[in-house]
């Protein structure tokens, strides 16, 4: 039995997972329109590869990966691209970004799917496949998986903790798509040379633990190696990467370091599943499991095509009449979507319906009494009340000194705050202000560099011009002298007595001057 560790802090919100965990994953019907954003990874947007009017096949690449951190985007179904235009994204800003609007033809004609044998081909080919399948971290951070998989590690941690209340998409995935989850984990482990694979699942999901254990011990269709399913105590945020690593291995990944430096890498179960589908079945990431939970009459989990507008998906769960907002993500870390016409993206794990009754608005913010409850709850061992103080007074340098960027925005501090201060909002504000300043700084530095280079260039051009002019003058002078000499030679050839002539002329001139002088003095 693996020895488990504990991470500091953490809270125990009511999990509320029973309702949506009961029902099996159902396929969401094909919507009338799909809106596929090209920006589906934490590292930026894919390069647009389709035009309006073009026919696409299911799984066809419509956005290509640019650079080492780029990821691809695919058509979720076959049909016609109606437009490539800016559409509102599910993002706290409610801003728009380029999307492909696809009208499905209903035929669901796949591209040619080529499975790979990951145990025979080169790891680089597997990694390229992961990139070309558009796989990003499905736990919510949407960081490109091929970049994360490009390390050598000892221990692979597969994150099935799913610690956010209400969300059950990973739970259902582990129960129902067990084989592919296990295979994906094995494949990722092999790709990075991991000696052991630990699948961490919170102990409020015994069925998922059972299912995975059975799949590992049974005869599966892939070699699992040293894989263990570990049931970890339910404590929010056990599903945070650094928290789960600490619980399973006891290693605390310090500030500014990444887990691979300690021989560990962590992937979500959903990502492992997507990797298995991409490598073993040749299917790019075009769908994901989304939980509909909260204020619905029929909560559950649905396999949804990426790009499905949320307002086409929500009726499947039948939101109750008093639903006043939809939150993407869970109650701890999610954000309210500005409009339900926005599409489901790779990061959409849950659409939580909220009502005044189910989620009453927080009472008004009261002053911080420095009780320290937030500090005890913080899983990153930060001092939230200090961060709050500095963020509120816009003293960003000080906030950074208190390691603001270590904050994982899990919301534990705000959850326990007796003054009901929306602490995370302050941290997000401070973080985005600092990032904006860094961008401005970088822009100013570039401008300074370019300005200085321009000045250097102008100086150099001036010097070059002067040198050129001097050279030309010298050349002209030399030429004149040459001409003079030539002329002299010519004259000399005609009349050899030129020097005497010249001397006579000078003598005559001198005599004239002398005569003039004498005349003047006289």
């Amino acid at each position: 039995m693996l020895e488990l560790f504990r991470f500091p802090g953490g809270v125990k919100p009511a999990s509320n997972k029973q309702e949506s965990a009961g029902a099996a994953i159902a396929a969401a019907p094909l919507p009338e329109r799909l809106v596929v954003p090209f920006r589906q990874s934490a590292t930026g947007s894919a390069t647009i590869q389709v035009r309006a009017g073009e026919k696409v096949l299911k799984g066809q690449m419509i956005g290509s990966a640019e650079g080492a951190f780029g990821t691809t985007v695919h058509a979720p179904t076959s049909g016609t691209v109606l437009a490539v235009e800016s559409r509102m994204l599910p993002h706290p800003s409610g801003l728009a970004a380029p999307c492909a609007v696809i009208e499905p033809d209903g035929a669901e004609t796949w591209i040619e799917r080529v499975p790979l044998d990951p145990f025979k081909v080169d790891p680089q080919i597997v990694r390229a496949r992961i990139r070309d399948a558009g796989i990003v971290g499905l736990g919510g951070a949407v960081f490109p998986s091929h970049v994360k998989a490009n390390v050598v590690i000892d221990t692979l941690v597969i994150n099935g903790a799913e610690c956010e209340p209400w969300i059950t998409c990973d739970d259902r995935l582990m129960r129902e798509r067990t084989e592919d989850v296990v295979c994906g984990a094995a494949l990722l482990g092999r790709l990075m040379g991991a000696k052991r694979i630990l699948i961490g699942i919170e102990d409020n999901k015994p069925e998922a633990v059972q299912a995975l254990r059975a799949a590992i011990s049974g005869e599966g269709y892939c070699e699992t190696g040293d894989m263990q399913v570990v049931s970890v105590p339910t404590l929010y945020p056990a599903g945070g990467e650094k928290q789960l690593i600490r619980v399973l291995t006891g290693i605390e990944v310090p500030y500014g370091k990444l887990s691979p430096e300690y021989g560990i890498q962590c992937f979500n179960v959903g990502t492992a599943y997507a990797v298995a589908r991409a490598v073993l079945h040749g299917e790019p990431l075009i769908a994901r499991i989304v939980t509909l939970a909260g204020n619905y009459t029929k909560p559950g989990n649905f396999e949804v095509l990426i790009g499905t507008p949320m307002n086409a998906l929500l009726p499947l769960g039948t939101p109750q009449a008093d639903t006043d907002r939809i939150v993407m993500g869970g109650p701890m870390m999610g954000f309210a979507v500005s409009d339900t016409s926005v599409p489901v993206v790779k990061a959409t794990n849950c659409l939580l319906a909220m009502s005044q009754k189910l989620f009453p608005p927080p009472p008004p913010e009261m002053p911080c009494i420095r009780c320290g409850a937030c500090t005890r709850a913080c899983p990153m061992i930060l001092q939230p009340h200090e961060l709050y103080w500095y963020a509120k007074s816009k003293n960003f340098g000080k906030a950074q000194e208190y390691n603001l960027f270590d904050c994982i925005e899990c919301g534990c501090c705000a959850f326990v705050c007796p003054s009901r201060i929306p602490l995370v909002d302050y941290y997000r504000f401070a973080k985005s202000e600092i990032r904006a300043r860094e961008r401005e700084k970088a822009a100013a530095d570039t401008a300074r560099e370019r300005y200085e280079f321009r000045q250097f260039r102008e100086e150099r051009e001036k010097a070059e011009k002067a040198a050129r002019l001097a050279a030309k003058a010298a050349e002209t002078k030399a030429k004149l002298a040459q001409e003079e000499a030539d002329k002299a030679q010519k004259v000399g050839a005609d009349k050899t007595a030129l020097p005497d002539d010249k001397a006579a002329l000078i003598a005559a001139a001198q005599a004239r001057v002398q005569a003039q002088k004498e005349k003047d003095s006289a």
């Binding site: 504000f429 985005s432 530095d445 300074r448 300005y451 321009r454």
Partner: protein, 189 residues
């Protein structure tokens, strides 16, 4: 008496030698204050302060020749930073040098451009590409929005376009507590 004078004199010589050595050994190249001020300035090189660039303005501020409130692109925040650095009082941006504007980049109307190269010569950061009698265009990523290209243009084909907010540049707002009517149900706020 003599001993006391000797001791004091010796002390003075030793300390003087130490200071003299330090002055030579740890001599700082350039004026670090100018560098610090220059780091705060936005580097638009727009000359609105009355100096030919950010560095000359920084030098003037360091010498005490220029005031700290002459940089419109730096805005109020820039003035606050300068005031902090120099231990001076904060001042409102001086009106004669201009007003703080939203960050913009220049845009050339390529239909109107006659290819005169005058704007290229005016751009302090070489952010305009083009050649004589060829259409010019602005490299938006490098443009500092200094507006120096506007006056030389003989056909007025350059406009300043404010930068739109994108998902990459969007910022979380300062948390404000919504005021809720006391006698109504919460949620109408």
């Amino acid at each position: 008496m003599l001993t006391a004078i000797l001791v004091m004199a010796l002390g003075a010589i030793v300390l003087g030698a130490a200071l003299g050595f330090a002055a030579v050994r740890f001599k700082v190249e350039g004026d670090p204050l100018v560098e610090k001020i220059d780091a705060i300035l936005p580097q638009t090189q727009c000359g609105q302060c009355g100096y030919p660039g950010c560095k000359p303005y920084a030098e003037a501020v360091a010498k005490g020749e220029a005031d700290i409130n002459c940089c419109p692109p730096g805005g109020e925040e820039g003035i606050r930073k300068l005031a902090d650095l120099l231990g001076r009082e904060f001042k409102e941006l001086s009106g004669e040098h201009g007003v703080e504007k939203p960050k913009s980049v220049a845009l050339i109307d390529e239909q109107t451009c006659i290819g005169c190269t005058l704007c290229i010569q005016a751009c302090p950061v070489d952010a305009i590409v083009g050649a004589a009698k060829q259409m010019h265009t602005i490299i938006a990523a490098q443009c500092t929005g200094c507006e120096l290209c506007l006056p030389p243009c003989p056909v007025n084909c350059i406009t300043m376009e404010p930068l739109p907010e994108t998902i990459d540049t969007w910022k979380w707002k300062y948390p404000v507590i919504g005021i809720q009517p006391v006698n109504k149900v919460a949620g109408h706020a």
